[in-house]
Symmetry: C2
Subunit: 412 residues, 2 copies
Amino acid sequence: MIKAEIITIGDEILYGQITDTNTQWISAELDKIGIRTVRKSSVGDSEEAILEIFEESSKRADLVIVTGGLGPTKDDITKKTFCKYFNSELAVHQEALADLTEFFRKRGREVTGLNVGQAELPTNATFIRNTMGTAAGMWFEQNGIVYISMPGVPFEMKGMMTLTLLPKLQEYFKTPVIFHKVIRTIGIGESFLAEIIEPWEDALPENIKLAYLPSMGNVKLRLTGFGEDLATIEADVEEQFQKVLPTIQEFVYGFGNDEIEEVLGKILTEKKQTVSVAESCTGGYLAHQFTKVSGSSAYFMGGIVSYDNAVKINQLGVNAETLNTFGAVSEETIVEMAQNVRQLLGTTYGLATSGIAGPNGGTPEKPVGTVWIAIATENETITRKLTLGGFREQNIHMTTINILNLLRKLCL
Amino acid sequence: MIKAEIITIGDEILYGQITDTNTQWISAELDKIGIRTVRKSSVGDSEEAILEIFEESSKRADLVIVTGGLGPTKDDITKKTFCKYFNSELAVHQEALADLTEFFRKRGREVTGLNVGQAELPTNATFIRNTMGTAAGMWFEQNGIVYISMPGVPFEMKGMMTLTLLPKLQEYFKTPVIFHKVIRTIGIGESFLAEIIEPWEDALPENIKLAYLPSMGNVKLRLTGFGEDLATIEADVEEQFQKVLPTIQEFVYGFGNDEIEEVLGKILTEKKQTVSVAESCTGGYLAHQFTKVSGSSAYFMGGIVSYDNAVKINQLGVNAETLNTFGAVSEETIVEMAQNVRQLLGTTYGLATSGIAGPNGGTPEKPVGTVWIAIATENETITRKLTLGGFREQNIHMTTINILNLLRKLCL
């Protein structure tokens, strides 16, 4: 297997001033094309530190990927250090200069001063186009090892990798043909999922690997097939996929890059159905999950954030007596909230949440994390009591995930 | 200056399956106590790779901090590898066992099977209590170098660092006494801020350093004073702070760990004032910023997410003619939204947002990123037109930051 090392250059990352999201993204992309990351490192803007890590990495890896330090200012020393490492020198690269000139021309400016340096590359570099910015990417080869240099700006780096470098790496290293299939589950923990699919997982053929990718509220399963012929691998992965799917069907909400709010949005759009929300404990977060999806205005009409009981009574029309007798966090209240918001906004579904997000407000009968959710339709109102008990942020998120998934199931 | 290296152990991080937030947090905390991180590395769950990085780091650093690989399963090999590295062996540590027993007892369980191993530590380790979980932390010393091992679970690691390790490190390394003051600004970019304070920054005394910590919509300025006597340093920092503050006062919304929504919450609580929101383009995100703060029910009454125009008319009482004549994204509409939500919910302030979040829906007159915000009070309604033009998520976030800051200024 081809081994890669990823190096991030920059004092700001080293001292914890900014978050490095590049390294994770790059290693995940390499993993998908069958290149194994064996080490990740961050070093500062120091020639000595950069040369040292180049030396070390070249002893362990077939591929060394470097991000950062390509800006026009004097603390960006990656290119000069590459020159020293390769015993090369900087010279204006005509393609890089043409791109740079065009980039500035489009913005009504000319290439001057510091920016001219952006078109200078080490003479042994292969130019890699940056369609999103001014710092060129570079590809070097020495003693059978490939070195790649990219800017640290995430969308510039991602553009270069996707358009040019990932295909080039696959071709250069003749990495095995690979096929992925991602199954997205919700409402089941990683270990419970692992228990259910254990017999299937243990029987997977050699050329198919399974990865668990958990995040808050959901777990992704990634099946990866390796081989020499794409059609065969695809068929192999598909076969395993069809075997495991029935055993976990009730937890599967989507595939690939699907997010729950997008999956739900597609179903609602297709069925020409609409949604309104009445939120107490989620306080606007549920509406935000709907509206962060572009195009959501087709099915999301709006909502009422009834944080205060007066808003539950006046805007939502919840019966004051219901609130007095059963409290805001009760099945009785949540049912009225869901039914009323549905009727007021004239939607297919009315969703409601009410609970104790914490850290304060819990009682022995209704501890922090006690949440009621409800969905009202024309014919019925479904309710669920959740017992979450996490931190405030988690309780709000998990309540939202739960009601989105409940609605998804109801729609189908 | 004391030099540190931070090592993360785990295949999941190496292959990009999970995000490593620990390394950034640790390096930022070390930075605060005057310990400089010189390298960050991630290696897999392999004895060979771990031993190699231990060897390398010990040549460069005074302090080696390791996270991960402390779980009870067989792929967690950090402790065994430390034994090999130090030529030590595992033995049950009585304090660790007592903590573990107590941890399980509280949950109505007994320490059995795999979990007993959690109380075994290398015999040369100093036990570091984990108040949040079952994996003990460890402190080793060899040839003048300190090695620290912590679990990879973020809140367990943070608990250990904050309660025990940071104070212990300050004492052990006799790091200079340090005093920090963080100024939080909003509504100004990093480079503009730098221009304003350049004369002051250039004149800073040797023992005071300035760091810019930018994130979406705001920039933090951190002043750090180094020295031997806390009172003197505090006075030095305070003096510089008082010099710079008047030059940037209009952009300063808080200090230290203050978030804009918390600062605002405190002001509103103090003044016994209340808020309601009418959201179009922010779609619930503004309400969420209020309600994610614990205790927000004291001042946040609720809101209406009027995504569809029918909701603007029926629930908010916006004049249909206003919408027809000027459109939803207009000063005329936003004023009605703000005034009406304030009146309907009976609050001190009524906030409203309406704009084109994108990526679709833009026109030549109102391109993506065109946003109107308004705040209605008893006596007046203030409006602002924003021209944002970023991605959907950014536009939603920046609209929210802008209106929160506008309200903060209005409250003062």
